[in-house]
Amino acid sequence: MPADIALRAKGTTWKVSLTTEHPLVRWGFIALALGYLTLFLFIPLVAVFAEALKNGLSGYVVSFMDEDALAAIRLTLLAASLAVPLNTAFGIAIAWAVSKFEFVGKQVLITIIDIPLAVSPVIAGLIYVLLFGLQGWLGPWLSEHDIKIIFALPGIVLATLFVTVPFVARELIPFMQSQGREEEEAAITLGASGWQTFIRVTLPNIKWSLLYGVILCNARAMGEFGAVSVVSGHIRGLTNTMPLHVEILYNEYNAVAAFAVASLLTLLAIVTLAAKSIVEHKYVSVEAAEEPLKTH
């Protein structure tokens, strides 16, 4: 510690490190930062549950007895159960291609994955309306064959797919790139098939990263509002997802019911944040455990 040595050379006895601030400044900064986070994060979070429980626990439970609320929950679960596995398969496939091989145009491909994050959710919905809506490119053909995509489940799933395309891929790519390809190459040279290599070698390595990607993808899939709002048509009990149902209830001045449904989505968000902390903790301990091995 050069600074400590310098201090001792000056003959000072106090043990305060010079690379930090005066305690008063420190606590002032902490108070300011926490104040900001309280204002923008903590109060809104608490408000959701406070508003949902305004009429007590019975009022809260009654909100879920409603047939339309249950239909919205079912639709959200259904759409997510279709969109999340597809995007997980895509995420694994593209992460394998990008992290295990060198090829021309790789950087462009990685940039394309991020497009849905840069695009407004409203536009994500709009592009599917232009394709499959009544006035869209395929609209006349679809209505002739009596296939409904917009204002029906397929449109909701498509909009959800678009918005959540990057999540699993973005978690896996940097992680698998940092892992390299030696272990897989060893497995293949020892005679394992590609599938065996993936299941026995790659998957155990990436499982936490993959799990977090899936949880993140699922949270966004269940919570997506803008894109789904454009393609859903807001038909109560039929094409209303949970976030859309929250909007309808809120606009009908049924605040308690709106916040009750919102509280379920908030719990999902809290689970997602907890999952992130756990996964990060896992990696820190894995790295710490592997560290002594690497130094040999």
Binding site: P2, L18, T19, E21, H22, F29, I30, L32, A33, L34, L37, L41, I43, P44, A47, V48, E51, F90, A93, W96, A97, K100, F101, F103, V104, L109, T111, I112, P116, A118, V119, S120, P121, V122, I123, L126, I127, V129, L130, L131, L158, F162, V165, R181, E185, I188, G223, E224, F225, V230, P243, E247, A255, A258, F259, L265, T266, L268, A269, S277
Partner: protein
């Protein structure tokens, strides 16, 4: 120098995984997006220009970009502070606070929208105290700013945090031993390292805010020319079956988004370049 498009490898699955990825991306992302540009080409240039420069559209750009910019600036300042406090100081509840920072990523936008509206409306927890002071937040452009600040909050924190963590304390200690005081050290040694990350985070927060819809529409009041954001105007045009108008505005937003992504990529390249030269 080899002219092969792919370097040889013993690992299998290249054709399958890349083929599936390209097919999937084309089907879900690229083809639908390009359909939008084709749709705009059904408008003449004059029609397109008239649609995207209507007073109502101009007012919506001013609100959307103005509020997004101010939100990004607020988050640039407080996000850096939060990152500093989380990396440099130890206090009770630090890891809880660290996890909570990502809430705007994880919370559905509609939930954020109704929660912020409930807090800032005239009988809400904060609105109740602000209204007597003459400050109206809910159903005004100020409400738009609050929502856009909320959804942009994690970006600066998450871009600055790793840079601060990786920062060598030796440079700071050297500055101190050379006689610099703490403020001089922060300004001349630490801040120059952080600027690329702060700008990247602000650009990301800005880009996210420009396209935001769900959290804004509840708190904005949505008055045309006053508190109507561009994504909502697109939605309104869609509901009136004005597909061409909605698409024209959509293309404007899309072009802005792409320019912003390019800028963010340049900023990231700048910051990684800086770190490597050290």
């Amino acid at each position: 120098m080899s002219f092969a498009l792919k370097q040889p490898s013993v690992l299998p699955g290249f054709g399958l995984t890349l083929g599936f990825s390209l097919f999937y991306l084309s089907l879900i992302v690229l083809i639908p997006l390009s359909g939008m540009f084709i749709k705009t080409s059904t408008l003449t240039w004059a029609q397109f220009w008239e649609t995207v420069t209507q007073p109502r559209a101009i007012a919506s750009y001013q609100l959307t970009f103005g509020a997004s910019l101010i939100g990004a600036l607020i988050n640039g300042l407080f996000g850096s502070l939060v990152a500093w406090v989380l990396v440099r100081y130890r206090f009770p509840g630090r890891s809880f606070v660290d996890a909570l920072v990502d809430l705007p990523f994880a919370l559905p936008t509609a939930v954020a929208g109704i929660a912020l509206t409930a807090i800032y409306s005239s009988n809400g927890w904060l609105g109740r105290h602000l209204e007597p002071l003459g400050i109206k937040v809910a159903f005004t452009p100020l409400g738009v700013l609050v929502a856009l600040t909320f959804i942009g909050l994690p970006f600066v924190v998450r871009t600055v945090q790793p840079v601060l963590q990786a920062l060598d304390k030796e440079a700071e200690e050297a500055a101190i031993t050379l006689g610099a005081n703490r403020w001089q050290t922060v300004r001349a040694v630490i801040l120059p390292e952080l600027w690329p990350a702060i700008f990247t985070g602000m650009a990301m927060a800005f880009a996210r805010a420009v396209g935001e819809y769900g959290s804004v529409i509840f708190i904005a009041g949505n008055m045309p020319l006053k508190s109507e954001i561009t994504p909502l105007l697109i939605m309104t045009k869609l509901e009136q079956y004005d597909y061409a108008g909605a698409t024209a505005l959509g293309v404007v937003m899309l072009v802005v988004s792409f320019v912003l992504s390019l800028l963010i990529n340049l900023l990231q390249w700048w910051s990684s370049d800086r770190r490597e030269t050290h």
